[in-house]
Amino acid sequence: MDSFLQNLISGCLLGCIYAMAALGFTIVFNASRIVNFANGEFLMLGGVGLAGVVVTAGLPLWLGVILAIACTAFVGVLMQVAFLNNARSADELSLVMLTIGTGLAIRGAGALIFGRSVTFVPDFGLFPMLLMGDVYIVSQGIWIALTLVAVGIALWYLFSRTTFGKAMKAASQEPRAAALCGIEPRQAAAAAFAIAAGLGGLAGALLAPISAAFYENGVFLGLKGFAAAVAGGMGNPLGAVVGGLIIGVVEALSAGYVSSGYKDGVAFIILLLVLLFRPQGLLGGVSVKRV
């Protein structure tokens, strides 16, 4: 029973990371209808960047986290402004390819700048490890869970209470009408990329003390973020969080009870099954497809 609870908790913590990846993916999709295959690389960049700043350069941890988030957000905006903006007339396939290409370039740049070694980052500290009977939560886990809650509240406030967030929503729902009201859809898309990338950087930085930072981490993290976003219903922020938690828990339970080697495959099988049988997501309602 205790090992079940322990697995459940570690699954939830990983799930929080996947949820943040899925949120970034959802925000970009909502703002620009682009499925950003480079989203996982933002997480990679956050982790590797933090490792570079803290372990290699020896700067304090809080500065490292801020730098990691800022750099990743900058890369996200750059990607939107320099690449995607100039190919907006292109079809879905070209855009997918563009994001894949950007992802490769980010991975390559990460390997060049921060090296190809696996780096461990010290955990954020401050909180003690929580012990409840035989079940424990590591201190970094508390950071992760609290961050997801804070991020969730901040995003909810941004998109439903501020003019800026409402303008972004308007630009994604009805770009022409929004443009007539003085909202620039490209700026809205750039803002979405900044938020998504910054969030990815934050998630990557939070993950770095638990699982080491490595330049190839982005591929699987990105795919698991996709799996979470698709499982929760594409474009639904609450669904992204729930989807992330589901993926994390199922993964941890399968690692505990089936085989730890296959745990990476579980998320992708969920992604495939949801795409095939419930493309509207586990939480989504039935959508009518018109020809």
Partner: protein, 319 residues
């Protein structure tokens, strides 16, 4: 009709030139290193031709070809080592197993389109990679992987010569089949599907079946390429079939052309040869690949080879 036939004839003349080109290169290349680069280009070109059929003609993106490539490599190795089947027959196994598997999953997976199809095929590649690393009793996992495949030294020729020609012959046959398919009813059905599935089905095309067959052919081609890849190296492990392989195959099509099979051959050659020619390129390989892919998609979304070819012919016409 006449023009279609003459374009087919022109394509078969090009195919003849390809054979002559391989023969000339085989004689002219003195370094073992360049010869193995050429062999790898020919091998990857087979998979890229299949992907062009699926992506360029039917308009169905797949970022999961690496799974079929790996499936081909493992089924050929299994056939040779566990069942005692000769390597040449092993190639047939490597075409049939991925082709059959591709056909099976094509129907459900090709109901998706665009973004979702790209995601699903990418997930397929990732699942395959995880299974290949973990199912050690069959695949050998990462360490040791598959080892000890036989040297192919038929007719007193060395292993690399035989594999080079085997890859060349397979490429020519696969390209010829692709050209014949494109020229006929099937190819027109594919192009109709790319334009509009609704229109295609209204004109009597069985959309689901045609797409599934195209997917199966692309899978079979990738499987043949995978088997040849295994034969060539004689030992390989699961890391060869990671998600990067699928993206590399996709890049070959993009670098070449989305609308002719020749682009795939050009693309495979470019992707395999360029990194070897630029020395000290290895550490920046990913970055250059990524930026090249971005540049091509922004500036020449129909494929680099095709855009260059059009520029050349336009200039010639202008003169």
């Amino acid at each position: 009709m006449k023009s279609a036939n003459s374009s087919l004839r022109r394509n078969f003349i090009r195919l003849g030139l390809l054979v002559v080109g391989i023969a000339v290169l085989d004689v002219a290349l003195t370094s073992q290193f360049y010869r193995s680069t050429l062999t790898l280009s020919l091998i990857f070109a087979i998979a890229a031709v299949g992907l062009t059929l699926l992506m360029g003609f039917a308009g169905q993106v797949s970022i999961g070809q690496g799974a079929f490539f790996g499936l081909g490599a493992y089924s050929a190795a299994f056939a040779i080592q566990q069942l005692g089947i000769p390597p040449l027959v092993g190639l047939v196994v490597a075409a049939v197993v991925p082709g059959f598997f591709g056909y099976l999953i094509a129907r459900p997976i090709l109901r998706l389109s665009g973004n979702n199809l790209a995601l699903a095929t990418l997930a397929l590649a990732a699942v395959f990679y995880v299974v290949a690393t973990q199912w050690s009793s069959v695949t050998g996992g990462i360490d040791p992987g598959i080892t000890g495949l036989p040297a192919l030294d038929y007719f007193g020729l060395s292993h690399i010569h035989v594999v080079l020609w085997l890859a060349g012959i397979c490429l020519v046959i696969c390209t010829a089949v692709a050209l014949l398919l494109i020229d006929g009813r099937f190819g027109r059905a594919l192009m109709a599907i790319k334009t509009s599935e609704v229109v295609a089905s209204c004109t009597g095309v069985d959309v689901a079946r045609t797409k599934a067959i195209a997917f199966a052919i692309a899978a079979a081609y990738a499987g043949i390429a995978g088997a040849l890849f295994g034969y060539f190296l004689r030992a390989f492990n699961a890391t060869s079939f990671n998600v990067g392989l699928s993206i590399e195959l996709l890049m070959m099509v993009i670098v070449g052309s989305l609308s002719t099979v020749w682009g795939a051959i050009f693309g495979a050659l470019a992707i395999m040869v360029l990194p070897n020619l630029l020395e000290g390129f290895d550490h920046a390989k990913l970055l250059v690949y990524g930026l090249a892919m971005v540049a091509i998609m922004m500036l020449a979304p129909n494929g680099l080879g095709e855009t260059l070819a059009k520029l050349v012919t336009r200039r010639r016409v202008a003169e």
